[in-house]
């Protein structure tokens, strides 16, 4: 059963008089708990469909169904609520909050997601997740003192700490070397499998494909 359905989604960008249709009717179903890798040439629209699915921009046409509810019909506030409690995000750069320690980044996410945990439970949760991504020893550190791989682990921890149903990842390993990339993918796979998180991941790195359950190729604004 598909938890997430992208149905005939179109996206047209306008700049001045010129309008360009980037997505030409994308259909994609994501199965619960699976990792779907989205591959394809640069400029084919992978990031665009991922961000539309994640509720970060609007489609020009079509439907995006999350658990049967059409997100294209929802208000900004409804989408924000879904993003904060049901979705997690990892991007090419980690986008951590510069003035928060590793631990505080995760506590913030728990607050934003409005999880019903008290302070002590939150701290325990954070400690556990940091253990899982191998960053427990750096919980007092600020992002500026972390390496690229370490930052990405923290970003992954932040993306899943509130136990979302969906994880959206746009080239999460693009800024890392091959060894670090594999470590990070290992972590993503373990975590999403343990927590039964459905994952949509854009990548153009062949080495990452073995970590996916399913590979979908995009070309010229359409699923191949």
């Amino acid at each position: 059963m598909a938890i997430f359905t992208i149905d005939d989604v179109e996206k047209t960008f306008k700049s001045g008089d010129v309008s360009e249709k980037i997505l030409k009717g994308v259909d994609l179903e994501l199965n619960e708990g699976e990792i779907t890798a989205l591959v394809g040439p640069s400029g084919s629209g992978k990031s665009t469909i991922l961000t539309i699915a994640a509720g970060l921009q609007k489609a020009s046409g079509g439907q995006v169904l999350f658990e049967g509810h059409d997100m294209t019909q929802m208000s900004q506030e409804e989408i924000r609520k879904i993003r904060s409690s049901e979705f997690g995000f990892v991007f090419q750069s980690s986008h951590l909050v510069p003035f928060l320690t590793v631990e505080d980044q995760l506590l913030l996410m728990l607050d934003v997601a409005e999880t019903k945990l008290n302070k002590k439970q939150q701290k325990q949760e954070v400690a556990q997740v940091l253990e899982l991504v191998g960053m427990a020893h750096r919980k007092e550190a600020y992002p500026s003192s972390l390496s690229g791989g370490e930052k990405q682990r923290v970003a992954i921890a932040r993306a899943i700490i509130h136990k979302p149903k969906m994880l959206f990842a746009d080239e999460p390993t693009a800024s890392l070397d091959s060894k670090r990339s594999k470590e990070v993918m290992e972590i993503i796979r373990n975590l999403t499998k343990t927590l039964k998180i459905t994952t949509l991941m854009v990548t153009h790195d062949e080495e990452m494909l073995p970590y996916a359950d399913r590979i979908v190729t995009m070309k010229d604004g359409l699923i191949d």
Partner: protein, 344 residues
């Protein structure tokens, strides 16, 4: 807002700079306000010491007290009708001491009253500042328009008018010096809504102060400076928060992407603004009060705590508005933009 406080802790320098700007501007504002108030007391303590009430001037006097003459019969009637009413006159003049040194004074005379000293003929009660000029009780002072001489009967604290010390004299002596029988004005204490009196125009204390020519101009310039400073500090707030917000556009985008409410981002900014402003204001209020204790004796400086508190509230409101206007860009931030911009 924990996040707001954590940012202040991490970016100490940035907030310290903002705080010191607010501190300096508010401190400057307090000091100038202290001077304005000090000058105002120096100028017109005589009137400022009088309780609230109404001053009646002749309608023909064109709102200038020393052109006003109140008809004697009308004056008698007013004094009889209103309890505590006083007729008084003020004229600038000089007295000469035993060494023939001239001192400029404001001669004041009044009918029997609790508000002003009652002085016997040929005696004078002087503002205490003349003690610094070496004048003592028992000294004899003269005036070239006056046939007799004034014996200094005593001193009164803080009685100045038009920046000159007041010399209280008797009505008879006053009438001789200035060759008028009528008094300039009748003061009726307490009446907030003045009774209209035929042929007379009423002024409350504040309005009466503004009929002193130097007073209005002086206070206007100083008040201009004060409000300019307040407006400038409001702009500083807006500009500073604007710059801080611009730097944080990427961060705001990410926070929005992970689902932080726009209202939480505003609260974060308000919390920081409030924290910085309150700390800075507490310091500048404290320091300006300290300054008013140690201000040199010759400097007309008077800064009631109520004035600083009132200005502080104005600063808070202005800061709030400045920060909020600059915060509208938070509303506009698109989460996607920030993500695509890459590393902050």
């Amino acid at each position: 807002m924990q996040m707001a406080w954590k940012e202040v802790k991490k970016s100490k320098m940035k907030f310290l700079i903002l705080g010191s700007i607010i501190f300096l501007v508010s401190f400057l504002t307090f000091i100038i306000s202290g001077l304005a108030n000090g000058l105002s007391e120096d100028n017109a303590a005589l009137i400022k010491n009088v309780p609230n009430g109404q001053f009646y001037l002749n309608e023909d006097a064109k709102q200038t007290y020393n052109l006003s003459k109140i008809d004697v019969d009308q004056q008698d009637k007013l004094l009889a009708d209103y309890k505590g009413a006083t007729a008084l006159s003020i004229q600038m003049g000089f007295v000469n001491d035993a060494d023939d040194k001239q001192h400029s004074v404001a001669f004041v005379t009044s009918t029997d009253s609790e508000l002003f000293p009652n002085v016997k003929d040929n005696e004078v009660v002087l503002d205490a500042s003349l003690k610094d000029d070496g004048i003592k009780v028992g000294d004899v002072l003269t005036n070239n328009q006056f046939s007799g001489a004034f014996k200094v009967a005593g001193f009164a604290e803080k009685q100045t008018y038009s920046h000159a010390p007041v010399a209280f004299i008797s009505m008879k002596n006053y009438q001789e010096i200035y060759r008028v029988m009528e008094m300039q004005t009748v003061f009726i204490p307490g009446s907030d809504s003045p009774d209209s009196v035929k042929g007379l125009e009423s002024f409350n204390n504040k309005e009466f102060l503004n009929t002193i020519p130097s007073y209005g101009a002086e206070q206007m310039s100083l008040n201009m400076i004060i409000w300019f400073l307040v407006v400038i500090s409001g702009m500083l707030f807006a500009i500073f928060f604007y710059m801080m917000n611009v730097q944080k556009i990427g961060l705001y985008g990410i926070l929005k992407a992970i689902g932080v409410k726009t209202s939480s981002l505003f609260s974060m900014m308000w919390y920081q603004m409030l924290l910085i402003t309150v700390v800075s204001l507490v310091l500048s209020v404290g320091l300006s009060q300290l300054f008013s204790l140690v201000a040199p004796a010759g400097m007309p400086f008077s800064l009631p705590i109520e004035t600083t508190l009132l200005l502080s509230v104005v600063f808070l409101v202005i800061g709030f508005i400045g920060a909020t206007i600059s915060g509208f860009q938070i509303k506009k931030v698109e989460p996607l933009q920030a993500i695509q911009q890459g590393e902050m």
